[in-house]
Symmetry: C2
Subunit: 118 residues, 2 copies
């Protein structure tokens, strides 16, 4: 497998990156919800932690029994078992990444996994 | 541990999210490089795949023997062993996420890991 893959994602259609850039440790989707709309179901996960990265706009998430406001520059970690749903606000679209990773899969990182060469 | 954590990240200082929002399957850093600057070293990883998400601006990456141009809306997967270095362009800053995940750690995702409740 090539040592890297690159893709440009623009537009408003949902794009799932796993197969497009050969991800092996994550699935990342790029999503846009028009103003006044939301994902039409609540879901949980069996194994995966999700991290939502809010890129543009604002909206809200329901996480179990809590409803929180979200906006650009917010990062939200969600445990596998949490019941979650995300919506745009009534007057503003929202663009976000949803990053799925296996809970507790990261062993080392940065200083303990990186090797500085020069 | 709480079922979710949320943080807002603005400004130009590097922020590492792992400990701030209790990530267990990834480390995510938020980075800004001023125009004309770059990370001052080349590095590889022992175990971790990295995904670079270019949020704003433009620049370039050196990946082993290739130098590629990057700009907002680009997503780049980098294998652990690839020698990598990232820079802003000479006249534009670059803002990006670096997502570290353990290579080959994702087992199921989306339809095979998600559970739709309603």
């Amino acid at each position: 497998m090539k040592n890297f893959n690159k893709i440009s994602v623009t537009g408003t259609e949902r794009v799932e990156l796993h197969d497009k850039i050969n991800l092996t440790g994550a699935e990342i989707s790029v999503n846009v919800l028009p103003a006044g709309t939301g994902v039409p179901f609540v879901h949980t996960h069996k194994q995966n932690e999700e991290i939502y990265v809010i890129l543009e706009g604002k909206g809200y998430m329901t996480l179990d029994d809590e409803k929180i406001e979200i906006e650009a520059n917010d990062y939200i970690r969600v445990s596998p078992s949490a019941k979650r749903q995300i919506s745009a606000s009534s007057d503003t679209p929202i663009k976000y990444l949803c990053i799925q990773v296996k809970e507790n899969s990261l062993e080392n990182y940065t200083a303990t996994d990186g090797v500085v060469l020069q």
